[in-house]
Amino acid sequence: MAAVFRAVFGYCFLVLMVRVVGRRPGKQMTPFDFVLVFFLGGLTLTPMVGNDRSLINALTIVASIAVTHFVLVWLKQRFPAFGRVLDGTPLVLLEKGQWHQRTMDQLAVQDQDVMAAARDKGLERPDQIEYAILERNGEISIIQSSNKS
């Protein structure tokens, strides 16, 4: 059935778009991120459903998406290189007093975002940070300097 192809294509395309739109820095999805994800998801699902409002169509689509998802997850586990492509790798933003400005520009991350993560750990200034790492899910990990000032 065509619905299966649409569902698989739609899901894969959405995964690609979310990957390519970029990691939003920060631990939580802000309401705006949520709306964006919802908007993109909704736009993707409407052609899957099309004019067919039947229950069997809905079940087919959901099942197709679930299967595709599991296949991707399994591929990630089996082939780490694929995992890198799908999720990306952690990236260093701040290293011992030096901002990796080019990385930050490329990822559209501001130093404000890093400082917000630092404040969450109770730090006040950049010089208290030894490493700041942008994780694959957008969270920023802060490793404190061992000499507390």
């Binding site: 649409r6 952690p90 490793i143």
Partner: protein, 208 residues
């Protein structure tokens, strides 16, 4: 350094990504057949110090890929705005017969299950005995999914690989409209003519 023995994608307490997958279940039986791997230095380090697992080569290549992808995306959006994917300026097409019987306004590119209108204008030579007859090929009805014909034809006769419509008419100008809703993606041919007149035959692409 604390390491949690749980599986792959969780971060251990100090925020550094944990190691590669190995069995994390609590081993109640220390059998020689259990699968355990010693903690290896499997994550790439930065500064020989902190195990981040970033790969600058990969990142560079990925960024080049992303830039290429965005160029393609921008192109797609531009093409769509111009109408190359249907529903736009570039997709509009006109087909005229030389004997002036037919003038068809149609979309060269259609979209699957999306309503659109094809308009057929008749010239004065098409009107005979107060009525206009139009033969339309099967492709228009089936593949392009003609839903309605406006105005309602007086009669429709199936034959010759299509349908022959008869419309009562008085004087030109006169046009009929077909409401289309394509039933499947692909390349389809449509043909129509006034009996005794020249035929108009065109290919229409239906996007998925």
């Amino acid at each position: 350094m604390e390491r949690s023995a749980s599986s792959s994608h969780q971060t251990s307490p100090n925020g550094v990504p944990a190691g590669r997958e190995f069995s994390g279940e609590i081993q109640t039986i220390m059998a020689s057949t259990t699968i355990n791997k010693p903690v290896e230095d499997s994550i790439a380090k930065v500064n020989d110090e902190i195990a981040v697992g970033s790969d600058p080569d990969f990142q560079r290549r990925w960024l080049r890929f992303e830039h290429g992808l965005w160029a393609v995306f921008t192109l797609i959006v531009v093409l769509d705005l111009l109408g190359f994917f249907g529903r736009g300026y570039m997709a509009k097409g006109t087909a005229r017969t030389n004997d002036g019987t037919l003038d068809v306004q149609y979309d060269r590119v259609e979209r699957y299950s999306t309503p659109s209108i094809m308009t057929v204008q008749f010239g004065p030579s098409a009107i005979r005995d107060g009525k206009v007859q139009l033969w339309v090929s099967e492709g228009v009805i089936k593949s392009l999914g003609a839903q309605r014909v406006v105005p309602q034809p007086a009669s429709s006769v199936v034959g010759q690989g299509g349908i022959l419509y008869t419309f009562p008419a008085t004087s030109p100008p006169f046009s009929a409209g077909f409401q289309l809703e394509p039933t499947s993606p692909g390349m389809f041919e449509m043909a129509m003519r006034v009996p005794g007149g020249e035929e108009v035959r065109r290919k229409i692409l239906v996007m998925p």
